[in-house]
Symmetry: C2
Subunit: 211 residues, 2 copies
């Protein structure tokens, strides 16, 4: 029996982008189902009753939740092509540390404040220094940490326009890394147009009640 893979997602979601990229890296066909987060349907609520959030990866009827956990799951279930996590336990732990850092320090706060300049730049510098002169965060191959962070890039323009956010000048390596990543087919297919995100941003702010 062929695998049935469904992704409940919302196009501008940086979390959803992670799961899309991981599936593309493994060349897995999936049924993408766009969700209306302001009017959640009963299938989403049934699949993620605790958090009621996207992305939800449904593999042969069973829901896998949380985007970083989904990346690991995808890597474990389809290990053959393009390993996403290193096999060495210490390097795996390092990759997970940076994934966790991105979730706690980069995605979370930024979503709330849309760019408090000093703080964001500090985090950008921490990531810039971790990247160093490597091609990707894990070294020579694109993987877990790259997937965890790259969705952010589609929001850069929106942050610059609506927040006080600008990291290009201070984090040239990070920008060069992002430009390398978006050339990859899996990323190009999974990230929305920056322009589309920037048009959508004021609409989202309004819906969330942020002025």
């Amino acid at each position: 029996m062929a695998d049935e893979v469904i992704l409940l997602d919302f196009w501008p979601s940086m979390f959803g982008m992670r799961t899309r990229i991981a599936l593309e890296e493994k060349n897995i066909k999936f049924d993408y189902r766009e969700q209306d987060l302001f009017n959640k349907d009963s299938f989403l609520l049934e699949m993620n009753p605790v958090h009621k959030k996207i992305p939800v990866l449904i593999h042969n009827g069973k829901p896998v939740l949380e985007s970083l956990i989904q990346i690991e799951y995808i890597d474990e279930v389809w290990p053959g092509q393009n390993p996403l996590l290193p096999s060495d336990p210490y390097q795996r732990a390092q990759a997970k540390f940076w994934g966790d850092f991105i979730d706690k320090k980069v995605y979370g706060p930024t979503r709330l404040i849309w760019g408090a300049k000093g703080e964001e730049q500090e985090k950008g510098k921490t990531l810039e220094s971790e990247l160093g002169d490597k091609i990707y965060f894990g070294g020579k191959t694109f993987g877990y940490v790259d997937i965890a962070l790259i969705g952010f890039y589609s929001w850069f323009e929106a942050y610059e326009k609506f927040g006080s956010f600008s990291i290009e000048a201070e984090c040239p390596k990070l920008i060069a890394w992002a430009k390398r990543c978006v050339k990859r087919e899996s990323v190009a297919k999974s990230l929305p147009d920056s322009e589309k995100v920037t048009k959508f941003a004021p609409e989202l702010k309004k819906k969330l009640g942020i002025e």
Copy 2:
């Protein structure tokens, strides 16, 4: 060469307790080094320059950070005895989901507010329902989710005394589970006395500037 394992920790830390328990489950001897979090020493800052927090697990000179990641690391490096995570990818993803839930919804907010009654009870009920009639969260064997949550139990008395927190009546299964867990040698060795925690709680609140 024998493994050199050092744990930088702080005795009342629910996060540190996780790593202690995981090491005990694997029967790993480790050098426990108590840290003064209000006067951090240079070794801690060197080992965890990004977050500057405990617990830090140092294995043959290399730091592994974040308690849930440490449990996974310990399980991967010493797989022989007492597996902590299931081998099935879907069950692994489920375990990690609950670990993440505990971090985001149980530990985080509680530490800040010390028990806003309604909200805490709702989370207790979610965990109670996930536990159901199982012996441990993973079924018949003690593992990752049990380790992620049990440290909380040493703080119950303190929360009841200083917060408006009481879950015993509403979550009898959870309490029975906790009583089963603390009978385990690894847990008994790793959790501080509730009484000691309760005495320490007002001191901590004062240091954190919470009245």
